[in-house]
Amino acid sequence: MLNDLKNRITVAKVGDYKFIRHRYIHRLIYVALLFTIWQTVISLELYPRYLLPSPYDILQTLIYGFSEADYAFAIFESLRRVIIGYLLAVSFGILAGIGIARYNFLDTTIGASLTALQSIPSVAWVPLALLWFGISETAVLFIVILEAFIPCALGVRSGVMNIPREIIRAAQTLGSKHLDLYIRVVFPAIIPQLVTSLRLSWAFAWRALIAGELFVSGIGIGQSLELGRSLADMSQVIAMILIIAALGFISDNLLFRTIEKNVREKWGLV
């Protein structure tokens, strides 16, 4: 019977593996199909090459950009900028979120205004930031921090408010109180919600970064994208968009979603 069980488990594993392999095959076919259509449109010469470069042109731009030009440095600068802004934003966001959840008067004032601010798209802040800080890195950081702060603070707020009352009460009857209660219970209890908020904040920070960089001087992905436009270099424009997509995909799907999934499993939420 044990053998039978073992067999069944093995079969299930092989099945899973097959399923995963199929998923990759499907994705591969999909991407190949996209490239085929793209290449076909190019060979039909419906559009001028400078408006619609071929996949090969873009590959060449990318190779040149990374080996001869400053693509790697642009990515490094953008990441440096967004990480600084993001870390500042989420540090304040966590504290603000806990404060808003703790004190009713903060919720009716700051909490309510954050909800209103959240509906403003990040580009709308660009003119304001440029007038205040000039066409500098500070302006970009301002937008990144503002955009990443809001979802983090609101997420932490709702995380704290949704902690089951019994969890807090159990801790209190076991002797925990004041700051100790926050450190040992409130903070760990909101970690699943916190990870989701951190992922959202990162997505907002990333979008705000690119929006801000389009308008300021210096080195970065947004600047290279804008340079591509002013030089009418469509290859560079598309290459930058691909880089933005790739970095976004790696951070969101591979990094944050993996952490999120593991945390939710541990906290018994799946």
């Binding site: 019994e166 009460r169 801790a171 009857t173 076991l174 002797g175 925990s176 970690i191 541990k266 018994g268």
Partner: protein, 264 residues
């Protein structure tokens, strides 16, 4: 603990609804109750009679609007480690494993970490989960979770163990096992227990003393009060069949109320 025999004293405690919708309505009115050392007391009554609220008052989560609640002559003002609570929904900390959950409150009693875990292991053994000390909470069944919660509440060696419908979320078979377990533990430790339940059978099987609670009149916002205070001195383990006269008595108390309701 110590020489005093009396543990909890509830003196004319009332609680008034604080929410905006039914401001001024009584939830509990003029409750008088004394709970003695080492006694197993059940608060029994239909839902909405205020039995869990009374337990919350004893725990210190809410303060009475008038009257007072004393523990060994001292008024109860806030939750404290000498009154631990077991909840229906377990309320375990999912970010900690089993033994860490049990050791949670020991942080405030024992400085040495190793001693803390040894002490926690003792209580984990008491509930029969010594082989699961490293399990995560998500891995456990409902019955096992409640065992951990009981071990966690007992490990801090409270003068009063409060239990709020602790077996209400469990299936019949597990509930029977847990009832046997709690009697076994109580016989060993003689911790004073206040146990809230709406099941007459459960109260009959477990308690030295049953406080029957009900709302005196119909309507969803009527206040709860104590209807009867019964002493069950039958030896344990008990068979329900031997307790029929008590059951009839309690049912009559609750049925009286119902027919009274119907008459209005």
């Amino acid at each position: 603990m110590g020489a005093s025999l009396m543990v909890v004293e509830v003196n004319k405690a009332s609680l008034i609804y604080a929410g905006a919708k039914h401001k001024g309505q009584y939830i509990l009115k003029d409750i008088d109750l004394t709970i003695n050392d080492h006694e197993f007391t059940c608060l029994l009554g239909p839902s909405g009679c205020g039995k869990s609220t009374l337990l919350g008052l004893i725990a210190g989560f809410v303060k009475p609007s008038s009257g007072e609640i004393l523990l060994d002559q001292e008024p109860i003002l806030r939750p404290d480690i000498n009154r631990s609570l077991v909840f229906q929904e377990y309320a375990l900390f999912p970010w900690l494993n089993v033994i860490e959950n049990v050791a949670f409150g020991l942080r405030y009693k024992i400085n040495n970490k190793e001693e803390r875990f040894m002490h926690a292991a003792k209580y984990l053994k008491l509930v029969g989960l010594q082989d699961h000390s490293q399990d995560t909470i998500a891995q456990l069944s409902g019955g096992m979770k409640q065992r951990v919660a009981i071990a966690r509440a007992l490990a801090v060696e409270p003068s009063l163990l409060l239990m709020d419908e602790p077996f209400g979320a469990l299936d019949d078979h597990t509930r029977t096992n847990m009832q046997e377990l709690i009697i076994e533990i109580w016989s060993k430790l003689k911790t004073t227990i206040v146990f809230v339940t709406h099941s007459i059978d459960e109260a009959l099987l477990l308690a030295d003393r049953i406080i029957v609670m009900a709302s005196p009149d119909s309507g969803p916002y009527s206040h709860g009060e104590i209807k009867a205070d019964l002493r069950i001195s039958d030896p344990r383990p008990r068979e329900l069949i031997d307790l029929n006269h008590y059951r009839r008595e309690i049912q009559e108390l609750l049925y009286q109320k119902q027919s009274f309701d119907a008459g209005i």
